[in-house]
């Protein structure tokens, strides 16, 4: 079990010694008992820190923000930021390190093991509680979650309300950390690509129908892209939300910039955006599930990325986000890689 006091003590130590400039952690929102990201700058504030099954956010997203912040400052504080990571989140850090987006010295990694269970899926929990509101959710013994509502406290089997990605998790323990809390328990994952396999049993026409219907719902709020730590491009090919314009960028350069997508949320543009994003995440998506969680219209987005993770594994034997010294998927090859598409 991960003890809150141990986490808080570590945070306090790091802040008091000035080793980190601030800590990105989880805080419990007293109102609905669920965790939200918190930025702890002073040692006195460490009591805010929580670790419970509602810590589903991928805090590595804010490590990306920190890099952007430093780039805007004249004399940035170059100390690392502390970040609390689960197993999946730690793999996001590995990707950022592989791609040299950040240096190892930019982060102080506080790993937390998910041990035998993962984090909850809010929608599954809401269905299970049938309208009752959860006030508190804790990790319990025997792979249960201890859920407190207005009616009382109940033990729910974690597998019934755990996020789908946790049921397919291949890294319950952070693969990189400066300090690790929780036990290094083994967890078996018989079907790491179960959700993708299910879709693949459908015929081609049914699959196209499924995805067309789903992506028709998209309102292009870009919640999926915005929440993803790996979508850090300043200029996104799918929709340039920020041009990298300097005083030297000529009018012709701006005029000739190709507008790949129209802003209209119609099926052609929606499919283009989501497919391009999925392909750009091949070998980079570590299935934190945040894109799917953020989506306000419940598009099963993680399946698109998961499919490409499966392709990476099957075609190229590539495991995503385990070793920061290994190259990125698209920047390396093996002699035995399939080449039948080269004619």
């Amino acid at each position: 079990m991960v003890k809150h006091e141990d986490l808080k003590a570590e945070a306090k130590k790091l802040l008091e010694s000035g080793t980190i400039k601030y800590l990105i952690a989880y805080e419990r929102n007293a109102r609905d008992g669920k965790a939200i990201p918190v930025f702890i700058k002073k040692p006195e504030e460490v009591d805010k820190i929580t670790w419970d099954p509602t810590c589903f956010h991928n805090l590595v997203r804010f490590v990306v923000d920190e890099k952007r912040r430093k780039a805007r400052q004249k004399n940035p504080d170059t100390r690392p930021v502390g970040v609390v990571v689960k197993g999946c989140d730690s793999r996001a850090l590995v990707i950022l390190l592989q791609e040299k987006f950040i240096d190892r010295k930019d982060v102080r990694i506080i790993g937390v093991s998910c041990e035998t269970t993962g984090v909850i899926d809010e929608r599954k929990l809401a269905k299970k509680l049938k309208g009752q509101k959860a006030k508190n959710i804790e990790f319990g013994p025997d792979e249960n979650f201890v859920v407190t509502t207005e009616e009382g406290t109940v033990n729910l089997p974690a597998s019934e309300i755990m996020a789908d990605r946790c049921l397919e998790c291949i890294a319950p323990i952070p693969v990189i950390s400066d300090v690790l809390f929780g036990e290094k328990t083994k967890r078996s994952t018989p079907h790491p690509f179960g959700s993708v396999d299910k879709i693949e049993t459908l015929s081609f026409e049914d699959r196209w129908k499924f995805w067309s219907e789903q992506l028709e719902k998209c309102v292009r709020c870009y919640g999926c892209r915005s929440v993803c730590p790996m979508c850090y491009c300043d200029e996104c090919v799918a929709d340039t939300i920020t041009f990298a314009v300097t005083p030297d960028t000529t009018a012709d350069e701006k005029a000739l910039k190709i507008k790949w997508l129209d802003k209209s949320p119609v099926i052609s543009e929606n499919i283009f955006y989501h497919m391009v994003r999925a392909i750009h995440l091949a070998g980079r998506c570590i299935d934190c599930g945040e894109c799917e969680r953020a989506c306000p219209v419940n598009i099963p987005l993680r399946m698109l990325n998961k499919k490409l993770e499966k392709e990476a594994k099957l075609l190229f034997g590539y495991d995503v986000g385990f070793d920061p010294d290994k190259p990125a998927l698209i920047s390396c090859f093996r002699d035995e890689d399939p080449g039948d598409f080269i004619r």
């Binding site: 929102n29 109102r31 609905d32 669920k34 939200i36 990201p37 918190v38 930025f39 956010h57 997203r61 804010f62 923000d65 805007r72 929608r123 509101k133 789903q214 719902k217 309102v219 292009r220 709020c221 870009y222 919640g223 892209r225 915005s226 929440v227 340039t240 939300i241 920020t242 041009f243 314009v245 300097t246 005083p247 960028t249 701006k254 129209d262 802003k263 209209s264 949320p265 119609v266 945040e290 969680r293 953020a294 306000p296 219209v297 419940n298 598009i299």
Partner: protein, 346 residues
């Protein structure tokens, strides 16, 4: 003049509305949204809150302004594409969404009228549903001059009395809609009115959230423009568009030309929703951006809703529906932010 409609007769009312495009809340993949009602018998108004508010029907996410195409004489022909088709009826509109439409009316009206908005707005009929209990855990309509049974912006208000609805036709459009299905309705009795009034009164006690004492917030915000408060509050913002796209009062939009053929040039000028939360919203062509960071953009959202709109229209630009709180992926809570502004000591 008020009527009663038995719930079992509800589909008969809908069947009488062949001259309208009927929208009602539908559950698709666990998300409620207003959709064209395919089967009148399948509609039930037993639902909490839609993800996308009713604004999408009078102010759709995408609409056409006009067509353009190159004409033979080396010029262009423009063809205006004003909305046409059947008028819309939207069932189940929550009072906060009705009030929100009166606020977008202020923006799209005035000295210069937006013909596209008004064509839809003038013909649309909003059939509201009083909130016997709050549709969302984050509802706070009472704190922003709204109420769970407010009639603002609505043409008809339905109150759920168990196995029938209390039906109040509020405007000429509403009266017409009710009269289209005449025999389906019965005259309301004094007891029905009392029951509806009790539900309305009780509903005001059920909201679990409030935003108290915000009278001085507009003035407070004016003084906090340069405060580092906004850096702290915006740290977890991921600059998506969820809060603003799903807000019933937000109205920002973009205009783009969508080209369908290069030669001869032909296409359409299209309006789509936009959001002040996207980084390039205010970016000049030169690269200069008056709102270059998240702090500036969060400040704009809060200031627009609780200061600028108040100065311009004497109304908060927020109807307390709570969608931005519920759906923000990182838990940014507008109630908490405004409370902090209220209590801020510089």
């Amino acid at each position: 003049m008020d009527k009663i409609l038995a719930k079992k007769d509800f589909s008969r009312w809908l069947e009488a509305l062949g001259a309208y495009d009927v929208y009602a809340p539908r559950l698709i993949d666990d998300v409620w949204n207003y959709e064209l009602a395919a089967d009148p018998k399948a509609i039930s108004l037993d639902y909490p809150q839609t993800a996308i508010p009713a604004k999408k029907i009078v102010f759709p996410q995408r609409e056409f302004f006009f067509e353009f195409h190159e004409a033979d004489t080396d010029g262009y022909e423009l063809k205006e594409l004003l909305p046409g088709g059947k008028p819309a009826v939207i069932f189940g509109v929550r009072p906060c969404e009705g009030k929100a439409v009166t606020l977008t009316d202020l923006v799209f009206g005035g000295e210069i009228k937006d013909d596209y908005y008004w064509k839809r707005r003038n013909s649309a009929v909003l059939v509201g549903l009083a909130c016997a209990s709050p549709p969302s855990a984050n509802c706070f309509c009472l704190s922003v001059n709204g109420s769970p049974h407010s009639k603002e912006g609505l043409d008809v208000l339905l109150t759920d009395l168990g196995d029938h609805y209390y039906v109040e036709a509020l405007t000429d459009k509403g009266k017409k809609l009710v009269s289209e299905a005449g025999a389906v309705f019965h005259e309301a009795k004094p007891g029905d009115k009392k029951a509806a009034e009790k539900i309305h009164a009780d509903s005001e006690k059920k909201l679990s959230r409030e935003l108290k004492n915000i009278k001085d917030v507009p003035a407070k915000l004016k003084g906090m423009f340069a405060s580092p408060f906004w850096d702290d509050e915006s740290m977890s913002c991921i600059r998506c568009g969820i809060c603003t796209y799903l807000c019933p009062t937000c109205h920002c939009f973009d205009i783009n030309d969508e080209v369908e053929s290069q030669s001869p040039l032909a296409g359409r000028r299209v309006r789509t929703w936009d959001t002040c939360q996207f980084p390039d919203f205010t970016m000049h062509s030169s690269g200069h951006n008056p709102r270059p960071d998240k702090a500036a953009r969060l400040r704009q959202r809060i200031n627009h809703k609780f200061q600028y709109f108040v100065e311009a229209w004497q109304n908060y630009q927020c109807t307390g529906c709570g969608r931005c709180i519920t759906l923000c992926p990182v838990g940014i809570d507008i109630i908490k932010v405004v409370e902090k502004v209220r209590d801020h000591v510089s």
